[in-house]
């Protein structure tokens, strides 16, 4: 036990030390730097950019990564990510874009004339750094990553500067005009930006406004998002909404009006926000800042990460970017993750891993880097059964099918034509998402709040689905709108579970549409592209299309109006991507490895524990010439035979003393002999391996290895032979110390000794209950080990009875015999029970027995099967005088049949009368052994009466008073 504890402690110490000393990855340290850049259409504006450069902590030359912050952020927002990336072996540069943080200049919305020029000069700066790996002179190996505003600058820079080698734009726009003025309706003559094939990308030099799609001009103003986007007060970064923004002191009048926007942008925004319409100038300005116009020039491999919960830049923007970039032959991957501007950042680690994998492959050129699939979608994998945490699955596809999906299913919708009104002033408005804080209000995974005002919405519903439907992309539906003028409508697709639960609006997204009803026709049809989502409609659920006249996030007409909405076609086209399959997760490796390992460990534990250990305490060091670890018997037990056979060499007093040579007292063999204690030679025992017990040296080899040399060599006729038996208490004190004696057939041996002499310990060792530290016990020539078969010839009663208290005496006896597995006929129940003499009490529960009754029952149990050797410890305890007398007779009779009885007792008078021989022990050592008569004869006659065992005993144990 102590050893185990010590091993555990040492292991723990080693573990902790290793953990403390283990070299941790070098920490990335940032170097703050002001970098002056010159930009503007005429390259005449000096701007001080506040930057932080994180050299690769490992030293050497490394690829560089530019990390761009989101709108309203600064280089500080990217610090953690930068450190993490730098620790992966990149040189990382973060900077506050012009107009943000401590950088000077004004916000120009990622304009090619301003921000893009700034970043180009940052790349120039990187090319001069000694830590940065170069592809060519003034061409560093560089990647860019960033979210939202920072994602757009990554796309814009990659388009305008071919030195950029890989980009990971996240939750960003393709067309800012379309983001702020979306129109999901495709009138017969036009198409939405998202649906328009952008592969026929126009040359960047052509004026973006020239081919302005009809969709944007008639788009519905996303006024709440636009307000947040342009307003100085609120940041897009929802985290900074909760605090942590740098306070910049009181605002000037101009700052209050325009914040840090360039005045031109500010003016146009204010005009647009007032009208709720995209003016051509506004569209031109926004298009200038839109990657879609230049995406065809991007040559850097691009990983587009777009949020599924993003009402500002929905998935359609990534779709448009991806198509435009892929059309130029540049590798593009898409990931739709669980989050976006409407909240959810639970996948930050996964996003980082994806970005890191992308850079590892395309910047470091590591072929071993984990592959990023062409299309990955984050899906809800339910809850982990154990942790109850949400788990996300990331099914992948080898190609990106677009928002129309790789296949479609059709769901029949039904519903009559319905009247809906646009309330005067556009209020109260339906709610789908509350921009900016929708994620905060609704929490990570709750469906959020979506409310349709009565009277403002037309509803069309499907039958309950018979099979689950996994929607991936943008479903389309054709509706007919009757009325007058221009109808502003919002289409949403609900998932309806049952009547008890409120319907859920996947991702909280709506599709705003503007339908112009031609004069005189009274109605118009429009194909609506519903919001692109990835959503699973469970079997039994219904799909519900709702068309409303208002939505809180958008500018709606203030004029009251009434429309009739009906389905132009009954079918809803649902795109699906069948190839999206979750990477087979399978069971974790440890699920099967751990039990196997445990079974192996268990087998080892059992196999190594099989050797019966006798090595716990080696015999005391032996000083004799026979070498260490040798237990020698200097004096063999005098086998004064039962039949009084000749004891040729017996000394006068007839005492045969066995002790151990080389013992701690250093009593030499010769010394023992000299002491006059007789060393008997048992000539009457044929088959003894050695008879010359006095021959110390001669016996050395024979008894030297008690465990080995003697095995199987014992005498099958000797009921009990103990040699060199030693057992130490836990504290090291010896309970039995070098005990040797021998008992012959037919003897009734009394084992005497004061308390603590080691009698009971010796008896326990006879029963194989405790392991001797040295020496051995042989019963009928067989060495006693735990459970040795020879123990079946031993009947024992040691240290009190042991019965199952809830069973009757008879049951106890019978079940005990059954437990030995021996035939019932061999038990001799009747004889044993006669000794117990319990009468009717035999069928009562043992717990009702008196001490004496249990005692008798236990002796009866010991005698079951009439064992050849009977060991009884204090058998007369608790018996009354007649019973004691009877017991004495029983024992004598028992031995007369050639069996052997060993009795330990304090009642010396009893021993004197019952036993033929005695062994006297004191403090674990043998003091005397021999026939009772001899022992008595040796004692001096005192006090006038004959010798009493008591006197002899007290004399022997040196306690005579």
């Amino acid at each position: 036990m102590k050893r185990v504890a010590a091993v555990v402690a040492v292991l723990a110490l080693i573990g902790v030390t290793t953990w403390l000393v283990w070299p941790s990855a070098p920490e990335a340290r940032g170097q703050d730097q002001q970098i002056t850049v010159v930009d503007g259409p005429a390259d005449d504006q000096r701007v001080e950019l506040d930057t932080t450069f994180f050299p690769p902590p490992g030293g050497g030359k490394a690829p560089a990564v530019l990390l761009a912050h989101g709108f309203g952020g600064s280089k500080q927002s990217m610090r953690d990510q930068a450190v993490r990336l730098a620790e992966q072996g990149y040189a990382v540069l973060t900077w506050s874009a012009r107009g943000f943080g401590r950088s000077t200049g004004q916000i120009a919305l990622n304009s090619p004339d301003y921000e893009v020029k700034d970043v180009k000069q940052l790349i120039d700066w990187l090319a001069k750094r000694p830590e940065v790996q170069l592809d060519a002179s003034n061409d560093p190996r560089v990647g860019m990553a960033g979210g939202s505003y920072g994602g757009a600058i990554a796309l814009m820079t990659a388009a305008h500067d071919q030195r950029v080698d890989a980009i990971v734009p996240q939750i960003t726009w393709s067309d800012l005009a379309d983001a702020l003025f979306p129109n999901a309706a495709a009138p017969p003559t036009g198409g939405t930006q998202a649906a328009q094939p952008t592969s026929e990308a126009q040359p960047a030099s052509s004026s973006p406004a020239a081919d302005q799609p009809a969709g944007v001009a008639s788009g519905v103003f996303k006024r709440m998002w636009a307000g947040i986007f342009f307003g100085q007060g609120v940041s897009l970064d929802t985290m900074s909404l909760l605090g942590g923004r740098e306070s910049v002191g009181p605002l000037t009048a101009e700052q209050a009006r325009c914040g840090r926007f360039m005045p031109a942008i500010c003016d146009i925004y204010q005009q647009v926000a007032k009208d709720g319409r995209a003016s051509p100038e506004a569209v031109e300005l926004l298009r200038k800042s839109s990657p879609i116009t230049v995406a065809g020039q991007i040559k850097a491999p691009t990983l587009l990460i777009q949020g599924q919960r993003d009402s500002l830049f929905p998935l359609g923007h990534a779709d448009a970017n991806a198509k435009a970039i892929a059309a130029a032959g540049t590798p593009v991957s898409l990931a739709w993750f669980d989050g976006g501007h409407d909240g959810g950042n639970g996948e930050a680690d996964w996003l980082f891993d994806q970005s890191a994998a992308w850079f590892a492959r395309h910047l470091k050129g590591e072929e071993s880097a984990p592959a990023v699939s062409a299309f990955t979608v984050t899906r809800d994998g339910g809850r982990d059964p154990g942790t109850r945490q949400r788990i996300r699955l990331h099914p992948e596809a080898d190609s990106y099918p677009g928002l129309a999906g790789s296949g479609t299913s059709t769901v029949e919708l039904s519903g009559p034509e319905q009247n809906i009104v646009n309330p005067p002033g556009g209020a109260p408005a339906s709610i789908s998402t509350v921009p900016g804080i929708g994620g905060l209000l609704g929490g990570q995974n709750s469906p959020g709040v979506s409310i349709d005002m009565p009277g403002q919405s037309a509803t069309f519903e499907s039958r309950p689905l018979t099979t689950p439907l996994q929607l991936t992309g943008s479903p389309t539906v054709k509706v007919k709108v009757s009325g007058k003028g221009e109808a502003t409508l919002f289409a949403k697709l609900y998932d309806v579970a049952d009547d008890a639960q409120p319907p859920t609006l996947p991702a909280g997204l709506v599709a705003p549409v503007r339908v112009t009803i031609p004069e005189g026709s009274g109605s118009a049809e429009a194909t609506i592209s519903l919001p692109a989502v990835d959503h699973r409609f469970a079997a039994g659920h219904r799909l519900r299309l709702v068309v409303t006249t208002t939505d809180m996030g958008y500018a709606t007409p203030v004029e009251p109006a009434t429309y009739q909405v009906s389905l132009a076609a009954n079918s809803l086209t649902v795109p699906t991507v069948g190839t999206l399959a979750a990477a087979p997760t399978g069971v974790a490796w440890w699920v099967w490895a751990m039990p196997l390992g445990a079974v192996v460990i268990a087998a080892i534990l059992l196999a190594t524990g099989r050797t019966t250990s006798r090595t716990r305490l080696r015999p005391a060091p032996v000083t004799s010439s026979d070498g260490p670890g040798v237990t020698k018997l200097t004096a063999e037990v005098n086998g004064t035979t039962a039949g009084g056979g000749s004891s040729a060499g017996a000394a006068d007093d007839g005492l045969a003393v066995g002790t151990k040579s080389g013992d701690v007292n250093g009593v030499s063999a010769a010394g023992v002999a000299d002491d006059g204690l007789a060393v008997g030679t048992d000539a009457g025992m044929p088959g003894r391996p050695t008879s010359a017990s006095g021959d110390v040296n001669g016996r050395g080899a024979d008894t030297g290895d008690a465990s080995g040399g003697y095995t199987g060599a014992g005498d099958a006729d000797v009921p009990l032979e103990i040699s060199g038996l030693t057992k130490a208490y836990r504290n090291g004190e010896l309970a039995v110390d070098g005990l040797s004696f021998r008992v012959e057939r037919g003897q009734v041996l009394g084992l005497l000794g004061p308390n603590g002499a080691g009698k009971t310990t010796t008896m326990r060792m006879m029963m194989g209950l405790i392991h001797p530290d040295a020496g051995e016990i042989r019963i009928f020539g067989e060495r006693v080990t735990p459970g040795a078969p020879v123990l079946s010839r031993l009947g024992s009663f040691v240290e009190g009875p042991g019965f199952l208290p809830h069973l009757s005496g008879r049951d106890n006896i019978q079940l005990y015999w059954a437990a030995t597995g021996r035939p019932k006929a061999d038990a001799h129940f009747d004889e044993a029970l006669e000794i117990a003499n319990l009468g009717k009490a035999l069928d009562r529960a043992v717990r009702t027995y008196s001490q004496g009754m249990r005692q008798r029952l236990a002796i009866a149990q010991a005698m079951l099967g009439l064992p050849d050797l009977l060991v009884l410890d204090e058998p007369t305890n608790g018996l009354d005088p007649p019973q004691i007398r009877e017991m004495r007779e029983v024992l004598k009779r028992y031995a007369r049949d050639g069996r052997t009885v060993i009795v330990s007792s304090h009642m010396l008078a009893e021993v004197e009368q019952a036993c033929s021989h005695v062994v006297v022990m004191r403090r674990g050592r043998l003091v005397s052994t021999g026939p009772v008569s001899t022992l008595l004869g040796s004692a001096a006659v005192t006090n006038g009466h004959g010798p009493r065992l008591e006197d002899v005993f007290l004399d022997l144990i040196g306690d005579k008073t």
Binding site: V587, V591, W592, L769, E799
Partner: protein, 282 residues
């Protein structure tokens, strides 16, 4: 002749004998009486208690559905007892088996009979596991009977979504639930058995196993341990609820079984190894 006539080590302590030795104990009978009575007590509690007024809960809990059908009731009974009552029952049967013999002093007479030590442990373990299994099985079966008599034989309603699964489709699943409950209790059994071989106080063995179980449950609440918690033996205790989902999910139960078997194998090996070399002094 080195052995008594008719003695053979492999015939010692037959299972039948050990079963009889343990069966008549008040402890055994009392525990089974409690386990068999508990479903009826629950039935009475549901019958006496006032009807819940509102059913429009978004997430239906197992207890809300207990009175829907016999199967629902049995699942509920299992869920309320698996976390503690069954643990105590298993710890009792496995923790008591060797230590009580040591306590009665009958252990040394069995060993001197002689029943070889490995065989003694093996036979006692088999019987203790048998009693434990009987305890784990009898509770849900009695609950099924009581629930069916009290609430009728209806299809089972799944907690959470409230979906309905036909009763006969659910019966095999119910078998899985009981099977998993058995496997997950294996670690309690092994732990109690190990402690049982180390002490001669039966209460100490049972209490030690239950105590360690409680410590694990408390540790499990420490979120900071993160993924390490998955390797606590108590962590997957309720993974059997996955078997009641409309779509059977094995992953949690597989991990729970893995953890349970791992601990059980090592604990049992340690128990055998220790007992083999132990000095029996009681």
């Amino acid at each position: 002749m080195t052995t008594a006539t008719g003695y053979a080590p492999h015939r010692t302590l037959p299972l039948r004998v050990e079963i009889v030795r343990q069966f008549k104990r008040r402890r055994t009978l009392g525990m089974f009486a409690l386990l068999l009575a508990l479903p009826w007590i629950l039935v009475i509690a549901f019958e006496v208690g006032p009807e819940p007024t509102t059913q429009a809960q978004s997430a239906l809990r197992l207890s809300d559905l207990a009175t829907e059908s016999g199967l629902n009731f049995a699942a509920f009974a299992l869920s309320v007892s698996a976390s503690f009552l069954l643990v105590v029952a298993v710890a009792l049967f496995c923790g008591d088996t060797v230590s009580s013999e040591a306590n009665w002093s009958s252990l040394r007479y069995l060993l001197a009979a002689p029943v070889p030590r490995d065989r003694l442990l093996r036979q006692k373990l088999i019987v203790a596991l048998g009693y434990s299994a009987a305890a784990v099985i009898c509770l849900p079966l009695m609950a099924l009977l009581a629930g069916t008599l009290a609430f009728g034989w209806d299809d089972i309603q799944v907690p959470g979504t409230g979906e309905v699964i036909p009763a006969f489709d659910m019966l095999p699943r119910f078998g899985i639930v009981i099977g998993y409950a058995l496997v997950s209790q294996l670690v309690v059994a092994a732990l109690a058995f190990l402690v049982s071989t180390m002490t001669d106080s039966p209460l100490g063995a049972v209490g030690g196993a239950v105590g360690l179980w409680i410590v694990c449950t408390i540790l499990q609440a420490v979120e900071a341990l993160g993924v390490l918690r998955e390797f606590l033996p108590t962590f997957w205790n309720n993974a059997w609820t996955d078997a009641l989902l409309p779509e059977l999910d094995w992953s949690g139960m597989a991990r729970g079984a893995s953890v349970s078997i791992t601990y059980a194998a090592i604990l049992l090996a340690v128990a055998f190894r220790r007992f083999r070399r132990k000095d029996v002094v009681s």
